[in-house]
Structures are given as C-alpha cells and as structure tokens.
C-alpha cells in the first residue's frame, strides 16, 4: 500500500487503522451456558491445557499432568521438570511442552523423544500441540515472548509465531507456517491443518499464505479440540474491544504503558478481570441523557465456539462480561460432555452437549 493511502487510512480511521470490532451475532449470539456450566474442579493451580486418551481426561496443571475422574478426583500421571504449557496424547504416550522451550514424549512408541529447536531456531513459546498419526504439530506462539508474556506480544504487535510439524518416526521437523500473529492452537482436520492466529482474530490453514477457515472473530482464538460428528471446538480466551483496538494503533501510548505500568493493569485483554482496585476504567462513567451511569469496557470474556467441518460457526457457549468463567484456553469432548478449562476462573467446567444443542435449537 502506498504511503498516501496509509496516511489517508490513518487520518480517517480506515483499513488497517479502523478500530472496528465484529459483533457477537448469528452463531455467536451471547448466552449464559458457559457461565452456568457445572464446576468439576475449583481452585486449580496454574491450569494450562486439556487432553483426552482412551481412559479419560488429562489436565496440565503447573508442572504436573493429572487424570481427572468423572467426580473430579485428580491423580497424578506425570511430573515434569518445568511448567507444562501444552499437552497432547500420542499412541499410548503423552507429548508435553515444558516451559514452552522443549517438547518431550513420555511413554508409548516414541518414549524419550525430545525436540528443542526446529529449522535451526529454538522453541520459545510452545503453547499448543496436536497429533496426526505419527506427526506431532506444535504451535510456537512467539519467538520473542514466553507463554506468560502473551500480553507483551500483543502490545508489541508480535508476528513471529510459527507452526511446526515433526515426523516422529523419521525424526524430521519443519515449519509449516511462519510469521503468525501469535499461533495459539492447531488442529488436524483430515488432510488439513487449522491454525488459530490470535492477534489476527482468525483460524487459517497451514502454508505460507494459508486459506482462511474463519476470520473476523470478535475475540482472540486459542486452542482447538476435535468434536464428535466432525469439526472442532474453538476456545476464545478474551474478546476484542474498540478500546484495545485503539491502543494497538497508538505506538507511543503502548510503549509508555509497557514501560511504566504493570501488565495486569494495562489496557489490554485479560483472562480474568475485576480482581484489582486499580484496573483501568473499572470505575469509569458516561453521561447519557443527563444521567451519569457507570461504565467500563469489558476486559475478559469466556467463549467456546462449535465449528462445523468446513470451519463455519454452528453455535457458541458464553460467559459474558458480568460472569467469571473467563479466559477459556482449552476444551475437550468426552462422549456427550464438553470439558472446558477456564484459566481466568481457575476452574474445570463441564457441559452436557445434547442438552445444550437442544436448548439452542440445533
């Protein structure tokens, strides 16, 4: 784009400089299903990811992987040397990302496999894993920031994410998508590989110029999990707001904010809110028709989207601004139940899918 067009767009708030946000409507119409979901476990310690195997549900919590029984009872399966930032099951074993910097396989045919770099570049922020046969797919969210520094990556307009493919039987590893605006989810849908790209608010296919599967999301997408009957579940860990979109277009403001304010108090999406007295704008107000009313832009949100085989949204489950099941980073379907990990509320939730679908008229 030439400089004149860029200047015009910047001046008039058009194109890349438009601070617009898509609306939650159609299949994304808000409801309270996620907020009213059954709480399986409360007060989880540093929960990060979910996976399923033949026996049941696995949860990555801190540096451990625990098995979750139907009644919520936890039993430790694995203790790693660092934080488990991503988890997947592979042929009787577990693929685990540790501190975002290495991926190891425990148990099964590929027990002992370990990878720390791909294409000559070290892993830095592995936050999602998926398996397709003997191939392990991994999301390296950012080359500059660790998994916990995702807000920094957003505010720095990070575009250094990548998705890598590792053939475990041949020991070959390669990048299948690079230059991603925070890769935070990968899903093998038959022959296709879907990637969720958080900062570009979309799900795309692999490849250098991957076809869009789903774009213009009103939130920041994260991990995906297979859904029974085809398609996938997509979690969205925070919603977009015009205020944040505005901040993202103000480099000087962002630079100063990053330098002087704690990340929890930035004007940026959060996985949970209403936790601190000094949260920005929680006590703002607007004057409408002469009446002063309390107002605050939402900072966190809870959302899971059911995607069809072609990636189109079918319906969605919400925990709205007034709820607390926010910061949803992972989900997994076990039979008729959908398990959802709310990192913001530090809870594992459970929803009966047939009942929800009936209520939503699906």
């Amino acid at each position: 784009m030439n400089i004149l067009a860029r200047t015009r767009d910047r001046l008039l708030g058009r194109g890349d400089h438009a601070i617009t946000v898509p609306v939650f409507d159609g299949a994304l119409k808000p409801n309270q299903h996620l907020q009213t979901a059954e709480v399986v476990i409360d007060d989880l310690v540093d929960p990060n990811d979910l996976a399923t195997d033949d026996i049941g549900l696995l949860l990555a919590s801190g540096s451990t992987v625990v098995r979750i029984a139907a009644n919520g009872a936890q039993s430790e399966v694995l203790r790693a040397t660092g934080r488990v930032t991503a988890l997947a099951t592979i042929e009787g074993g577990l693929a685990v990302a540790i501190d975002g910097r290495e991926v190891r396989v425990f148990g099964g045919r590929h027990d002992g496999f370990r990878v720390c770099d791909v294409a000559g570049k070290p892993l830095h922020c592995v936050n999602a894993l998926a398996v397709r046969g003997d191939v392990l797919l991994l999301c390296d969210g950012s080359r500059n920031r660790a998994p916990d520094e995702w807000r920094h990556d957003l505010m720095e307009l990070g575009r250094s994410g990548r998705v890598c493919e590792i053939d475990l039987s041949k020991g070959l590893a390669r990048e299948i998508a690079t230059g991603l605006g925070y890769a935070f989810g990968v899903f093998a849908n038959d022959d296709e590989v879907w990637i969720s790209e958080s900062w570009r608010h979309r799900v795309r296919m692999s490849g250098e110029v991957g076809r869009k599967v789903l774009s213009e999301l009103p939130g920041y997408p994260s991990r995906m999990a297979p859904a029974m009957g085809g398609g996938a579940w997509l979690t969205v860990f925070a919603c977009r707001t015009q205020l944040v979109e505005f901040v993202l277009r103000e480099p000087a403001y962002r630079k100063r904010m990053i330098a002087t304010i704690e990340p929890d108090l930035w004007i940026s999406p959060q996985i949970a809110s209403d936790l601190h007295l000094q949260e920005p704008l929680q006590h703002a107000r607007v004057k409408t028709l002469g009446m002063i009313k309390p107002w605050a832009p939402p900072r966190s949100y809870g959302l899971v989207i059911r995607l069809g085989v072609d990636g189109s949204p079918q319906y969605s489950l919400h925990s709205r601004v007034d709820g607390n099941h926010h910061g949803v980073v992972a989900c997994a379907q076990l039979g008729d139940w959908l398990y959802v990990l709310s990192k913001g509320a530090r809870r594992l939730l459970r929803l009966p899918i047939p009942q929800i679908e009936q209520e939503l008229g699906r």
Binding site: L11, L12, G13, R14, G15, A18, I19, T20, V21, P22, V23, D25, G26, A27, K29, K212, S215, E216, Q242, S312, G361
Partner: protein
Amino acid sequence: MTVDPADKVLELRGATKLYGGVPAIEEVNFTLRRGEVHALLGENGAGKSTLTKAMAGVIRLSAGEILVAGKQVSPSSPRDALNLGIAMVFQETSLVPTMNVAQNLFLGAERFYNRLRGVHIAAQQFLQSLNFDIDPAEVVANLGAAKKQMVEIARAVILDARVIIFDEPTATLTPEEKIYFFNLVESLKKRGVSIIFISHALEEALQISDRITILRDGRHVVTDDTSAFDRDSIIKAMIGRDLSNSFYENRKTGARPPGRRVLSVQNLRVGVAVRNNSLSVFAGQVTGVFGLVGAGRTETFKVVAGVIKRDLFHGGEILLNGKAVRYSVPAPAVSDGVAYVTEDRKAEGFFETMSIARNIQIGALAKLRSVNPFVRGGDEQRIGSQWRERLNIRAVSSDAKVVELSGGNQQKVVIAKSLAQDPDVIIFDEPTRGVDVGAIAEIHRLVNELADAGKAVVVVSSYLPEVMALSDRILVARSGKVVEEFSALEATEEGIMYAAVH
C-alpha cells in the same frame, strides 16, 4: 336504511375511468356521509386510488357523475376540489422537498407579504395542536417518511376541508404516531369532517371506520357498516376467495440455519442516524431488521448499498464476503452483488414514465454494463416478459408505463429491477408498504424462495407481524444501532417491541 340527502356530503354515481380503453373503475357508486369515517378497501389495482383521485380532481372521470352536497360538480384540478372542500393526503408525499415544513403547510395560501417568523410560529402552534412533533423550520427533504406523512396530514387539516381523503396514512407511522393519528381522525369527525380512509391494514379499518366499501377489479363489491365485517369477510370480498390462516398469523416453526457470513457491518456511523451499528448477515437466511422510524435501519443498509456515505472520520467498516468495501455510489455495490429495494419506490425505485420492460432492463444493465456495451431492444422485451411473468406483474403488456400501475405492481417492478442483477445480498426496505394482501403474499413467497436459493436476504420492516412471519433471525434496532437479536423460534411481539422501545 335511507339516508337524509342533506347528510350526503359526497356521492359518485356510475363512476367509470378508462385508461387506453381499459377500465380502471367501472360503474362505481359511492356515498360519503357527513362526519363519518369511510374505509375504502381493495387489492392493489382494485381502483381505490383512481376513485379517490377523481374525487380530488387529480383525474377526470370518463363517465358518471360526482355530487357534492347534492350538486353535480366536475372538479378539473386539486384546486377545484379544494374549493369544493375536498382534500387528499396522498400515499406518496406531494410536498415540495426543498421548502421547509411551515412553507409547505401554507403553500398556496400565502399572503402578498409573508413574514417567515410569523409563518413558523403559526405552523408550530398548529402542529402542536395536532400533537405532531415536527420542527416547522426543518427542510422537508431532511424529514423521514413518517414525518413527511404527518406534514401532509397537517396540510389537509389546515386547509379546513370538509372531506379529507387519506391514502395509506398510517403505513409510515410508528405505533405511537398512529395513536395520535387516530385521535386526530376522531377530533376531525367531531368537527363534522368526513373522512375517506384507504388502508391495507385491515385491523385499522375495522378499528376506526364507521362504514366500509370494498372494490375489486375496478368494481364495487359491497358497502356496509363496519360492524357487519370481520377480517376474513373483508379479505374474501377483496380477493374473491378465502385467505384463511393469514400469512401473518402463521408462526415460523423452524428457521433456516445460517450459511457463511456474507455481510459484516462493524461500528458504522452515519451522522446522528446510525451510531456505532454492528450486525452480520448470513447466506441462506432471511434476516429481519425491525425498529421504529428513526432507528437507523434504512441508513445502515443504504451505506451498504452505496446510496449514502458513512462518516468520513472513523465511520466504521463494512465487509462483504470478508473484504472491506466502501462504495461512494451504488454501481460498484451492484457489481459486487448487493441489491437494495428502496422503501420509497416513487422517488428512488423506478422511472415512472418508462415501460416496465425498460425499467427492468435498466436494472439488469446496472450490473452487466461492462460486459456488453451494446443495448438491444430484443433483450429488453425478453427480460421484461420474463420478470413480468415470474413476479406476476399485472399490466396490459411489458410496454405499459410504470406510472399506470397500482402500488403493488410498481413494487414488483422495483423488485424485478433488483433481482435482474442476480444479487447475492438482497436488501428489502419495507417491501410491502402500500401493497395489497394478494401482492404481499407473492412478495413474501419470493423472499422465501430467494433465501432457499442460498441468497442472503435482509428484510427491513416497521411492521412486526411481517418481520416475524418472514425472518429466520430478527435484529432489533433502536437509536441508530442493533440492540437485540432474536431467533425466529424465540421471538415474541412483546420481546421485540420492548427491545425496540426501551
């Protein structure tokens, strides 16, 4: 029952009007009594407008006579009719758009020297006495359809007419404005003014009229006291067949699932009319947009279609099939598959002195102009006949001028003009305003067929039963933005109305 001749303020005997040898009305007898509200009902093309235009001096009868207070008259112009005490409030506004409200009210009744301030004050007082909330200094072109209609009504009242003919007066009014209008009709009645009331809203006719006359195919069918009618008997008399289980009473039992998102409007701003409006439209569905007049619905979709422009600074984004678009004029929107069927067909919908076929071909050419630079007369006839048949446009031939058609058939021409462009997104703005029940059913069927064919269909309507009968999802707009979304199955009239008002 015999009527005291002194009570007959207006009478037509054997009224006949021929257009090109074809009768628009034939041997119609009509009597209007002092201080009564007389509803004139019939399908589009039944001859209601022709009959009332003859009374108001707009056209002259081919045969028959008009008697005012027992004396035979022959008004040759609206001025003549006004001198006889007959005023008509037209369905399509006849105000001067470049003049302000006060000037329009006193148009034709100016003094040699007019002081504008005095005119404004008099207009203000008069409008307030009618409970009409309109700024007398506002230029008419800036008013919405409802307010224009209110100025029309006020003008008829200010001229102190003894007979006022209202042609579809409530079509553009909000529920609250309708209440004012009905109160106005009551007060006029008490002052001895006789009112002829043409409406397609049968419930309104049943509610406010004293007597009802029904025409069909240019002929008088029945006249009787309103108490002798109910909705079903009126419809039967109007169309000559039973139309039980009205399409408005049939609740949707299922909704089409959404297809891909075709249109995404994000944070759109247009002056004070549209304020940060966001919505999506999906393929294979009818998306109904309900709202009261002034909710910003029309303006939003006019921006989508390139008819008007959004705000220059931070006016929001419109994405068509995922691609940001910004149309300054409608032509590129048409090329990209967006069709907008206007709410104001007379001003924006067609070229009234051109034929049906030519109007439709002009619509088709708007999309295809770059493909073939040559326009062929044969194509015009072919396209005209094809669409006339498909939409059942009732006219002598495709060469008939649009101005000669009834409101419902004119609306079908406007729709055909848009559909000839083979659009992917079709926006119907008030698709059945001023259209009779038979044509409404046909237009509704067409809307459903388009959605079934995978098109993204938007129906903007102020008529709640229509929105509920047609839509798979319903968006409710208030104060310039969409404030609520209902699925067809969960929508209730109360819920939608609450969202639209509060």
